[in-house]
């Protein structure tokens, strides 16, 4: 067991090489979201006036179901890491900060999971 402090261990080793992960995740998810958004508005337009059978038939297409599920998942991820920055910028006191960050994670994943499951059920459900 080393008697060195954590700071002494970290000194001189350079950065943790993880500083740009969040920045890059924001860029990748925004580009993915932008492309999938074109498909989303196409879907909205295609489903205007559609009855229940037509909606199920639309999502029965594997292409439509995969793109719709990706649209929901990518945006759930993008909104999670986006709201994380907003909370970190304005809320500095723990435990409020920690609880809000957790609530953000729970809410975003709930929205994403609910949306993706609904699309899977619409696509595969009898």
């Amino acid at each position: 067991m080393s008697g060195k402090t954590p700071l002494a261990k970290a000194r001189g080793l350079g950065s943790a090489k993880g500083g740009t992960d969040h920045f890059w995740a924001m860029r990748v998810s925004s580009m993915a979201s932008l492309l999938l958004t074109l498909f989303f508005f196409y879907t909205v337009f295609a489903l205007i006036g559609a009855d229940y059978a037509a909606i199920k038939a639309y999502f029965a297409s594997p292409v439509a179901a995969v793109l719709a599920a990706l649209f929901v998942a990518v945006n759930a991820h993008h909104m999670m890491i986006g709201m994380q920055v907003i909370i970190e910028d304005y809320i500095h006191e723990d435990p409020a900060r920690q609880l809000l960050l957790m609530a953000n994670t729970f809410f975003s994943i709930l929205i994403g999971a609910a949306g993706v499951l609904a699309i899977v059920k619409l696509s595969l459900g009898a």
């Binding site: 925004s30 929901v72 759930a76 709201m83 723990d94 900060r97 949306g115 699309i119 059920k121």
Partner: protein
């Protein structure tokens, strides 16, 4: 930093209230505000999808809410919010590529994102209303 609490009333650097609001600053604020609004608006999509997966009656109920005057106003507003955030995102991609940093181009991008977000929103809803037979 996160836990810093100063007891003495130390001078602060100039903040929002001391600056004249200018275009790029307002657009930066709008990008964050529209992002936060879209965050909660996205729950409406999950609601619609969950209702559609639950059955025709549940879907009819959500469609009824969305077709009400308040529902339509909310959806049109959220469409603009979403489109504005998307267009603002494209603006950031242009900056990320190292372009568009001169003062005229920053102001041009700011104006272009307001105008294009309104035009795109109008086009989307004109298409929706036309297909629904409302106009």
């Amino acid at each position: 930093m996160a836990q810093a609490k100063s007891k003495a009333a130390r001078p602060l650097s100039p903040h929002l209230q001391i600056f004249r609001p200018w275009m790029s600053m307002m657009m930066s604020i709008m990008h964050r505000v529209t992002g936060a609004a879209a965050y909660f608006g996205f729950a409406l999509l999950a609601w619609w999808l969950t209702a559609a997966a639950s059955g025709p009656e549940q879907l009819d109920f959500v469609n009824g809410v969305f077709r009400s005057a308040l529902g339509q106003a909310a959806l049109i507003g959220l469409t603009w919010v979403y489109v504005h955030h998307a267009v603002g995102g494209v603006r950031h991609m242009i900056w990320d590529s190292g372009r568009g940093f001169t003062k005229p181009s920053i102001n041009l991008l700011a104006r272009a994102s307001i105008v294009s977000s309104v035009l795109i929103t109008a086009a989307i809803w004109a298409g929706i209303f036309a297909k629904a037979g409302v106009i």
